[in-house]
Amino acid sequence: MGYLDNSSITVDAILTKKGRELLSKGEFNITHFALADDEIDYALYNINHPDGTQFAGQAIENMPILEAFPDENNMMRHKLVTLNRNSTKIPIISNISNLEKSRNGDITITPKTDYLNGGATTGQIETNYIITVADRRLFQSLDAGAGNVINTDTYSDGTAVSATATGQSFNLVTTNSTSIFGTNTSLITTVTIEGKDTGARKTIAITINKESTGGSGTSGGTSAGSTASGY
């Protein structure tokens, strides 16, 4: 007679840079969790394993996992999602693409989700989307609607820290300052949009020019700029 395994898995967590910032401001309050499979390449899943299908995940299951990074922008990139059984599609963020913009310019981002419930329907809207601006110094404000406005440059201490907001459509105003550019003619940062219901995620690059050169301003509907960097 064997012993039953009644143990739970215990892991040590580290604070992200954002977590440290919120802790220092007394705004540290964990309320949710999510799971991800960062580092997993499902090409390693060998459905033709010579020892049988039960060994298909052998390579993945024996993979040593790297330690956590404190940069919140580089963690939890590929979330596990809850869908009905027999779903044929995985939700994808759509209607956004890379952008180029001048200083003090407006950007509107209105994301949508394709295959929201694992079905074939496109262009649906989730309950909410989470937007994360990787370097908030490059924006004057981030407006997520319903009065949810973050003055992104207010808390800047000179280092690149992210700003996050939740909403369905987002308006960003690029920085009007030239000092942050130094000798660069443009700066690039990333904006990540994540569906709150599905965990679907897409990252786009936003190029901000030091001098006025025109450029497109809307991501959503009639967006211009180069092809999305997304997944």
Partner: protein, 359 residues
């Protein structure tokens, strides 16, 4: 993202962790090594005139503790100005610790009824003792080196605190708890008096302040009990010949009495004490139900059109958990945990992941 249940998924716990105080978790220091750059005694304002730092070894030097000598009249050290000999490094040390413990400039250190003019100090480096030194773990041996053995005196004193013998009897001072330093080991006093087996005409050995990380020693008691006390030669730092722990108290003269204590600690070859800290941890229990988290947004799990890469997985998907993210309500990722190996997740499996976050 899935909300935690505040009634069932959170747990706060505080535990006391005790470790050796010294670098690399060394149980005891067997030698006292100084740095020539710090142990400088040329003028009254040289740092070595006030204290001497003691390192764990000569190569990867890290300060473990400091020794100092204080005299209430300023004797035993050069004066800052020869016309005012009472203002010197030794008076600074005496007044500094007196103010720290008693909060005034009139109370003198009194050891079991005996009030000497001077004190020895051992001050453990702040970074070494975490929250506090742990009472009941002190084992400090003071040796007499090559000094002549004197009848009736010990060649080595074994000092500890009396926190176990007199449990709960600590006096609370401005510097935190105060225990007596006594002859004995690991918090247990040998004998029944603070002064050991000798007449109590020189007072007790000293006081231990675990919350502030230092000890105040009574030179008179140490000199009385430790062999070599009658030799009283001039402290010669490198010669090895010293008069145990009897201080020299010439006015406006660099007697460097703290080097006597340093030599005695080095000769004893046993300085052992643990430190304590309270570690507060928050536990979060992530409950992964069978119907949840069975698909992945990982781009290698699907093609560019959103189709699953392996059609066999449509009815029986299998994904792997590697990372747990902890979020606040606005959606900020504020803590993250990685598993040592991927955990397979499918409709027939559930998982309970306990995430520990230390502060």
């Amino acid at each position: 993202m899935e909300p935690f249940d505040p009634n069932n998924d959170f747990l706060s716990e505080t535990t006391k962790v005790a470790t050796s105080t010294w670098t690399n978790n060394t149980n005891k220091l067997t030698s006292a090594i100084t740095a020539s750059t710090q142990a400088v005694f040329t003028t009254a304002t040289s740092s070595g005139a006030f204290f001497v730092d003691v390192h764990n070894d000569a190569t990867t030097s890290s300060v473990q503790y400091s020794v100092a000598y204080g005299h209430k009249a300023g004797s035993g050290s050069l004066a800052f100005n020869a016309s005012a000999p009472s203002y010197s490094p030794t008076s600074v040390i005496y007044n500094q610790y007196r103010q720290l413990i008693y909060g005034d400039s009139t109370t003198n250190f009194s050891f079991n009824g005996y009030t000497p003019d001077d004190i020895y100090v051992i001050n453990v480096n702040r970074s070494r003792y975490k929250h506090n030194l742990k009472p009941g773990t002190l084992n400090l041996f003071l040796g007499s080196g090559s000094a002549t053995t004197v009848a009736g005196k010990a060649s080595t004193l074994h000092l500890t605190d009396d926190s176990i013998t007199t449990t709960g009897s600590a006096i609370i001072t401005n510097a935190g708890r105060q225990f007596n330093i006594v002859s004995g080991s690991s918090g247990v006093m040998s004998g029944s008096t603070l002064t050991g087996n000798h007449p109590a005409d020189s007072g007790s050995y000293g006081f231990f302040y675990p919350d502030s990380g230092f000890m105040i020693l009574n030179p008179s008691a140490l000199s009385f009990h430790l062999s070599g006390g009658v030799v009283n030669t001039a402290p010669a730092f490198d010669s090895g010949s010293y008069g145990a722990l009897t201080p020299q108290i010439a006015s406006n003269t660099a007697n460097n009495n703290h080097l006597k204590l340093l030599k005695s600690i080095d000769s004893g070859s046993n300085f052992e004490i643990d430190s304590e800290e309270k570690v507060s941890a928050q536990y979060y229990f992530a409950r992964v139900k069978n119907r949840s988290y069975n698909y992945s947004s990982n781009p290698t799990f699907r093609d560019s059109s959103g189709n699953l890469v392996y059609s066999d997985m449509e009815s029986n998907p299998k994904v792997y958990i590697t990372t747990v993210g902890l979020y606040d309500t606005p959606g900020n990722l504020i803590a993250v945990a990685k598993l040592s190996q991927p955990i397979a997740k499918e409709f027939s499996k559930e998982a309970l992941i306990r995430i520990k976050l230390d502060y």
